[in-house]
Amino acid sequence: MPEAPSGRGWVAQVRDGEVLLVLSQNWTETEFDPAALAPMLTLLEQSRWKTIRFESSQLGRVGSSLLAFLDSIRSTALRQNIGFDEAGLPGSTRHLMRLLPTRSPAAAAPRRPVSLRERIGSWVIASGGEWFAVTALVGQIILRSGAALRGRASLRKLDVLACLSEAGAGALPVVALVNLLVGGIIAFVGSVELRRFGADIYIANLVGVAEIRELAPIMTAIVMSGRTGSAYAAQIATMQGTEELDALRVIGISPDDYLVLPRVAALSIMMPLLNLYAAAIGILGGFCIAILMLNLSPAVFVAQVEDAVTIPEVLFGIVKSLAFGAWVAISSCRIGLRAGRSASDVGRAATTASVNGIVGVILIDAIFAVCANALGL
């Protein structure tokens, strides 16, 4: 008689076309090793046995690995028309085996590989659809803000005020810090070049014009996109996940009115105001550097700024920051609205919102620059 095949925790005793599997030891989950099963399964496939029986008096603790072992033996035996006699197994194990249907579930259809062309095509179609949706949202917001001004949109004053305070007063410290430093840096960098021509005094013009026209609107918009835009996207995406948006829709409140409108209004109102505040702080930063480190006289600095900064420049900055505010709010809200329902979708929405906000702001600024050039502003 050949040596009895065996493995960890089992010995197979073959007799008269039958096999008796003697089980012993503990079969806890951490012992599970599918590779160790292979000899038993090959044996089963090559044999001409009629029945497989079990002996379990030596069996220790039963865990998932015994089930996995028995399950694969059973399905192989079934394929080979070998009888699977579970009478020798402990009752509790037989019980668990009954939870495992003998027919293995149909394997999922293999996923069809997607070609590069198909991927590019579907990306173009998706982004086209996205632009369409954003445009529709912009139109919707413009129409609804008319209704809101006549008091006919379903939004609450309290929400608008909360958004205004959050996007306005709440942002003052960080906007101040960023612009103070940027103003100082511009004055410092500019002075190095201007000093070579003995034109130190024009630092005031440089700081004034740069802050009013470009830096204050851009820096403020970037800060607000990272701070408020991503918050809007995350808030709305979370509401998506908890079905709050569905709850609004069901009772007939449009999320566009109730959620998007107050946010767009708040940011569009607050961004120009923040811009003015930022420009003032930025000029103050430049002023401090000019006075303390470059030894300019305060009166001269102020006179130069007054001279350099004209009303059209200030208006130009205000119009730009209005556009930035509207863009940041609308794109962030849109990203929140189309987010998925899971926790990771919320994170993705927040990231996308701040990135889209910043990139969009810079693109819009470029468009403004080209237009201003063409118009000779």
Binding site: E29, V62, A68, S92, H95, L96, R98, L99, L100, S342
Partner: protein
């Protein structure tokens, strides 16, 4: 209570739980025998889930002890607590699946983190557990695409991932229709019979309680303590406490107790 001949698997003594100064339950004591199905019963807001949180290490009790075997859980070191916790499997209300992973990945994660099993072994065990809990389809679907019942099953498979010694179930049949709920109860009993796992469940579903629980404790929402111990069927037939009796028979109490004030935390 007759002194049990064997040491209980879990021994809870004078347990008090509170959120800040807001006392939820106090002086709760009970024993859970090994391989039994134990229920923590009570009306909504009675602090059942909070007691479960104190038992699973999620909320430090304000007083009292929870012992697993000879080990006092809350006075153990962090490392020891983690080690005790390794023998727990917890099914949260509604499954609490990790939403960025597929159903199969949810079940695989504990094995990947805490065992040295090879990837094929884990894959095979994941399929085994999902089959065991009766999930035939949707194994590679994200949780958001699964139905409530399926999520609950995946949650149970995840709780079983490490072959736990103690299984904690928070409202296992909440949100399931009666037949599904019955199947889920049968499944829990089969798992207990098969693996010898000790089950502690929080529930207010009478059919489940009467059907599968060997033993129970009743938490009273007004008196804020445990008011009855015993097998659910015994409590139903023999309890003299009107609140317990009303709960177990779904009757309206003869003398209605003063309605508790609104429950701001929505405790279940």
């Amino acid at each position: 209570m007759v002194a049990a001949p064997v040491k209980p698997k879990i021994r809870v003594r004078d347990l008090s739980v509170s959120y800040g100064t807001d006392v939820i339950q106090q002086g709760v004591s009970f024993d859970v025998r090994e391989s039994s199905i134990f229920a923590v019963m009570g009306a909504s807001g009675s602090g059942k889930s909070t007691i479960l949180r104190a038992m699973t290490g999620l909320l430090r009790p304000s007083a009292g002890t929870v012992c697993y075997g000879d080990l006092d859980y809350w006075s153990s070191t962090d490392a020891r607590r983690e080690q005790i916790g390794r023998s727990f499997g917890v099914l949260f209300q509604g499954g609490a699946l990790w939403s960025s992973m597929t159903a199969a990945e949810n079940v695989a994660l504990p094995m990947q983190m805490f065992t040295k099993l090879t990837a094929p072994a884990i894959a095979a065990l994941v399929q085994l557990k999902l089959t065991m809990v009766g999930l035939q389809t949707g194994r590679d679907g994200m949780p958001s695409t699964l139905s409530g019942g399926m999520r609950q099953r995946v949650g149970l498979a995840r709780a079983l991932a490490l072959d736990p010694e103690i299984l904690f179930l928070d409202e296992p049949s909440a949100g399931l229709d009666p037949p599904s709920s019955k199947r889920f109860d049968d499944l829990i009993r089969d798992l207990r019979d098969g693996f010898g796992v000790t089950v502690v469940m929080v529930s207010h579903e009478l059919p489940s309680l009467l059907d599968i629980c060997d033993d129970a404790v009743f938490l009273d929402a007004d008196r804020k303590t445990a008011t009855a111990h015993g097998a659910p069927a015994t409590l139903r037939d023999h309890s003299s406490d009107p609140v317990v009796h009303a709960f177990m028979t779904r009757a309206i109490p003869i003398a209605p107790t003063v309605a508790p004030t609104g429950d701001p935390h929505g405790r279940g």
